[in-house]
Symmetry: C2
Subunit: 347 residues, 2 copies
Amino acid sequence: MARTTISNVAEEAGVSVSTVSRALRGLDKVNPDTRKRVEAAAERLNFSFSKSASSLASGKTMKVAVLLPNEISSWFNSHAFEGIYEVLSKQGYDVIPNVMWEQRDLDRFFKALPNNQNVDAVIVVSFDLDDDKKRILSELTVPVIGLNNPSDEGFDASARIDDFAAMRSAVRLLHSLGHRNLAYIEQPVTSPFTCSAEARVNGFRAAVREVGYRDEDVLVIPSVKRSGVPGGQEEYSGIAAQLLSAPVRPTGICVEHDGCAAALVKELRRLGWDIPGEVSVIGFDDSDIADITGLTTIHQDPVETGRQAAMRALSLMRGECPETPYGVMPTSMVLRDTTGPAAESEA
Amino acid sequence: MARTTISNVAEEAGVSVSTVSRALRGLDKVNPDTRKRVEAAAERLNFSFSKSASSLASGKTMKVAVLLPNEISSWFNSHAFEGIYEVLSKQGYDVIPNVMWEQRDLDRFFKALPNNQNVDAVIVVSFDLDDDKKRILSELTVPVIGLNNPSDEGFDASARIDDFAAMRSAVRLLHSLGHRNLAYIEQPVTSPFTCSAEARVNGFRAAVREVGYRDEDVLVIPSVKRSGVPGGQEEYSGIAAQLLSAPVRPTGICVEHDGCAAALVKELRRLGWDIPGEVSVIGFDDSDIADITGLTTIHQDPVETGRQAAMRALSLMRGECPETPYGVMPTSMVLRDTTGPAAESEA
DNA sequence: TTGAAAGCGCTAACAT
DNA sequence: ATGTTAGCGCTTTCAA
């Protein structure tokens, strides 16, 4: 059977196509009776609009692209996407994930972007864009919204957490617990895109300086710069070794995110370290893993961040100007069982 | 600036629009020189096709809908989606998640489905559909692919794990370890859609019978049928109480999925139970949490399942018939630190 | 190998 | 409040 079109409905209801269009879209200036008749006809014929035809005629695609780094199933990405989806899908938008696996995916996307009339807005999640790309964004006719990007440049609106402030609160906690030597651990195996990783380690560096630690009291263990390696427990024994061989052993440790932190805690305990007795460990995100393993961590709510970004996208697409286009989402410390006073702090 | 259209490119290249269309889509019967000229012109003008216009003219939408229960960020859904996305996006398809939060979302989706020319295929993830909906599916002109659905009825192809076989292997393991009394724990707080939950508990029930347990040696603790309640640790002390108050205390426990299993293990240990000394616990999924908490579990690979479903969608959309339309994906036991021989088994 | 022309199904002026 | 009509940007016969 051929597709039911708007003109079939018009015929069935005994009105013109434009009346059907108006009636079914809930526009005003249509007689309630007529509308009822049209709706009944549409129901009878099981009619639904062709999105392509609507888009082509109206110029609105009712699609929003979401640019995601590395994968969609990571804790942050999937939850941020969830929030975006929740808001936009309720308004009838198709929310289309665009996962960037490598730099060339991103380059290709931006190459096609300037002329792209295939989406009504794009939401960019966790990318540290170069100047070229920022310029492309700023020249775009469709709104571009940032989510957890290091800078708001090029974006018409954004929502993000303050990685700096978050790391500062972690560093302050460790400081107040009397820890004199700190370490920061990056995720052992890196992905091609690592923008929030960088934000955090930079936040940590700035925070320790601010709080008054000397450079020699602070150790940063960078990620092993090869990707694709299975991130097994072995990576963490390497990290433990580095921790042990430090000139002065750090007792307060910040880790890039909960998954790493939990794995590190497990490895250190396996090696006989007492956590939180000897050493304190703080994660980041407050994901399920932090809860189940009793990890002290920094809580953030990516679903809500996603909602905020999407709401700003919505008002921008309506041609409005959001009251607060550039918002910072809160983070908070969650104290669990991996932090405690430094052993020497009483001495 | 107005949008660059195919006719701009045609003008720039000094050819007709149809030639541009052919050249840029890589069709044959176009002179290599002409194609080069067209490509150069397109590049210069930064041209890219309007998907709406292409869809409308060609009848192919280049979109695939993915029907997901409850949320997209759950472990299974996000990983299954990842696999689907990976395969389809590489072929130029937009992959559009459609999350069903409640029954009425599903009803509405199916109501609009029969006439839907807005997607080229739909992939249905983890729904136990009623006969009405199965009938709608089977009458559809676009291919419908199932992913982890209890039945293949109504689907043109599918990929799924065998929850029954998986549970049987878990039950057999516990049996061979000498556990005489088993329990199955459903997720304490339920979501509106619970199709794989049901598959598993049914698999468990069938498996214990098959292996020879008597009904009085088996306890099933159903989920608390209220949704929206925060799934805190309290739920698990309730479960522990039920376990304790059982006529005969179960020593082999299967849990619906890893998240619940880990939380239960934590609670039981807090209450002083020795795991795996006194009691063995087996999860399901082999998610990060199982790894980090040392949980024995049943491994499955939803990304690969998603890939398989998507590949079948692809060949169906091409009008081919997949070699094996209905595939079962493997699962396997992963032994970790929550299972061991029953205490009495030596006696 | 290329071009001309007729739609695809809808929206949005503009009339009435 | 409703109808008429001209496209939206592309694909696809059909001719040349």
